[in-house]
């Protein structure tokens, strides 16, 4: 995983609450055996019409949303299935962070494992962001802050180890493999 220190971008906004992972990446695209290439199917049913043409009224299809690397979503973003294909699709499309008042557990974990930063903010900040799509914001991982163009700087929760891994591009599997002596000791003492 590449280290992530800051992300500066205009925001793309999907105000819907409960955006589930079936919307983020429909099940029929889960048959891939790699992590790449899912970006073209991100929000497939919302982005494309029945003929495969881009729907002009969908927020991400609008010209001002192109190149945005931060997605603001309504509450309970990423609920539903554990498919890690959801963060893979978001990353492959170009997003590097997701902001909401509530982010579902498994999705949050999966995102962190892939360097997609899940950012939970308070209701007021979320409301401002949803009302101002295209705002230029900056995410600072080391300080766990989100800076808005209003001058406001809000802190977001991020678990210490996850932050460390993001900043240093740490490979969690390597971290676990380094703990093999403790794992073997556990197996012996617990007769597993």
């Amino acid at each position: 995983m590449e280290p992530v220190k800051t992300i500066r971008s205009r925001t793309a906004v999907l105000p819907n609450s409960n955006i589930d992972t079936d919307q983020i990446i429909p099940a029929r695209f889960l048959t891939t055996t790699t992590r790449e290439g899912l970006g073209k199917h991100l929000f497939n049913e919302w982005r494309y019409d029945a003929n495969g043409a881009l729907r002009p009224d969908f927020a991400l299809n609008k010209p001002e949303a192109q190149g945005c690397r931060i997605l603001v979503g309504g509450r309970n973003f990423g609920c539903g299935s554990s498919r890690e294909h959801a963060p893979w699709a978001l990353l492959d499309y170009g997003f590097r962070a997701v902001i909401s008042t509530e982010i579902a557990d498994i999705f949050r974990n999966n995102s962190l494992k892939n360097g997609l930063v899940p950012i939970v903010v308070d209701e007021d900040t979320a409301r401002w962001l949803i009302e101002h799509p295209g705002a230029e914001v900056e995410v600072d991982i080391a300080n766990a802050t989100l800076s808005l163009p209003t001058g406001a700087k809000v802190t977001f929760p991020i678990e210490g180890f996850a932050r460390y891994c993001l900043l240093n591009g740490v490979d969690e599997l390597g971290f676990l493999l380094d703990r093999m002596p403790q794992i073997q000791a556990y197996e012996r003492s617990h007769h597993v």
């Binding site: 919307q23 048959t31 890690e84």
Partner: protein, 462 residues
């Protein structure tokens, strides 16, 4: 109980800077979330460390048509066929036990774990699937993980985890006639919301929970994730032990006695504190059915679709479903009925659906699919003649698998069609592009199939 199981599995305890390293007793694998995990192992030259604690099956992409499973007809969905082949190759290469396409113990991963006695009280159980919470019904700490974590467990048999908080859901009262465990969990989600459990492990407690059999407890724990919870658990008791005794992968002989002693120490001590508690009165529940595009949009079957003027997202959901605020949900015409899924495809679920269909016919124009949760359940159902009841009624009796619940194997609901599903998710497009899913219990589903419209099952109960 959660604390006890967590503590027993700490290889390295959590610190301020690092998550805990948790040992995983049972790692279940299926074909959709494993390919990239095996690729990582291959790329790094790592073996599967504990093949003895790993068990694979195939369920999401597998066909349910007999001719495609046993008859040599090709799997019609090419990408599904590819995933099935990929899992076969990976398991053979890494020495992982696979209950493959034609194996007589194959089934939906969250059905076969308990069925085979592999899932046991006090075990940590993980799988690359959110409905892993199902196994919590046996008092296991069971949760869904992503593909990257599947790779971690394959390589080390461990996971990095921060400890979640605990939520007690205390259920009292007797479920009324026609109100099932599925209605209970839909009622719970309706009350606490689809994110009411986020960050928590739920323990389902109380006299009502004690009175549920194992299939019913699995239905309830299965949908913990739909309330956002990490996991859902029911403390083991004599019902659990009777269920497990004699199952092929459960302990036997002296090991059984030892295991029992250890399991009996698991239930939560009196006076233990939970981070949050919620009370549910089961006796006030009616049969439930969803009307919207997430499981929290649920009402009693006797109720009308709610109105939320000015809530654009809510109105968009109703527009997708083609339903009007204020309309009764009862008598909404349906096109497809699906009885199956890891929520409700066990023998007791099939018996209850058959009880409604016995001597009756599926309404003209309705397609009904009955998909047993495992090949063993299929066999047991056939021994009781349940298959004949379904077929004579005009329903289709299929081989086991996830089938129409996630709609990945070609079993799909058509655009604009109304489907009463005993599955766990009614998200937009889940069962097929433009599909309109209404989640309900097996008896509600069967009753709706008979009438061709959403039906209160109590009208058809003998």
């Amino acid at each position: 109980m959660f604390e006890k199981v967590w503590k027993r599995h700490e290889v390295v305890a959590e610190t301020a800077d690092t998550p805990a390293v948790l040992f995983i007793d049972l790692h279940l694998i299926h074909e959709v979330t494993s390919p990239q995990a095996f690729s990582v192992l291959r790329a790094r030259g790592l073996p599967v460390r504990r093949t003895d604690l790993t068990l694979a099956t195939m369920d999401h992409s597998t066909p349910t048509r007999t001719e495609q499973v046993f008859g040599g007809a090709p799997i019609s969905v090419e990408s599904a066929a590819k995933q099935v082949r990929e899992l076969e190759i990976n398991c053979a290469a890494f020495g992982v036990e696979l209950l493959g396409l034609r194996h007589d113990q194959r089934g939906i991963v969250h059905v076969i774990g308990p069925e085979l006695g592999a899932t046991q009280p006090g075990k940590t159980v993980v799988c690359g699937d959110s409905h892993t919470s199902t196994h919590g019904a046996l008092g296991a700490l069971a949760f869904g993980i992503g593909t990257t974590e599947v790779g971690h467990v394959l390589a080390t048999q461990c996971l990095l985890q921060r400890k979640p908080r605990t939520l007690a859901i205390n259920v009292s009262g007797v479920l009324k006639r026609g109100v099932t465990a599925k209605d209970l969990v839909l009622g719970i989600i309706g009350k606490i919301g689809v994110s009411g459990g986020t960050g928590y492990v739920i323990e389902f407690r109380g006299e009502t929970v004690r009175s549920l059999d194992m299939d019913e407890r699995m239905t309830v724990c299965n949908m913990s994730i739909e309330a956002g919870a990490r996991a859902g658990m029911v403390a083991p008791d004599d019902t659990t032990y009777a269920y497990l005794k004699g199952r092929p992968r459960a302990p036997h002989g002296a090991d059984w006695e030892r295991a029992l002693e250890s399991w009996r120490a698991l239930p939560t001590d009196a006076g233990a504190k939970f981070d949050k508690e919620v009370g549910i009165d089961a006796s006030s529940l009616e049969p439930m059915i969803t009307y919207g595009t997430h499981p929290g949009m649920v009402i009693p079957i006797t109720a009308c679709v709610p109105e939320r003027k000015g809530d654009a997202i809510f109105e968009k959901s109703l527009a997708y479903m083609g339903l009007q605020a204020g309309q009764p949900i009862k008598d909404q015409p349906v096109n497809v009925v699906f009885v199956g899924s890891c929520t409700t495809s066990r023998l007791s679920d099939l018996r209850s659906a058959a009880g409604v269909l016995r001597g009756r016919k599926v309404a003209k124009g309705v397609q009904m699919l009955v998909v047993p949760g495992s090949q063993q359940i299929k066999k047991a159902a056939e021994a009781e003649g349940l298959d004949r009841i379904f077929i004579e009624a005009g329903a289709e009796w299929r081989e086991s698998g996830c089938s129409m619940c996630p709609g990945m194997n070609g079993d799909l609901v058509g655009k604009g069609q109304y489907s009463v599903s005993t599955g766990n998710r009614n998200f937009e497009g889940r069962q097929g592009i433009g599909a309109r899913t209404l989640l309900a219990s097996p008896i509600t589903a069967a009753a709706s199939a008979v009438r061709g419209r959403v039906t209160d099952p109590r009208e058809l109960l003998g």
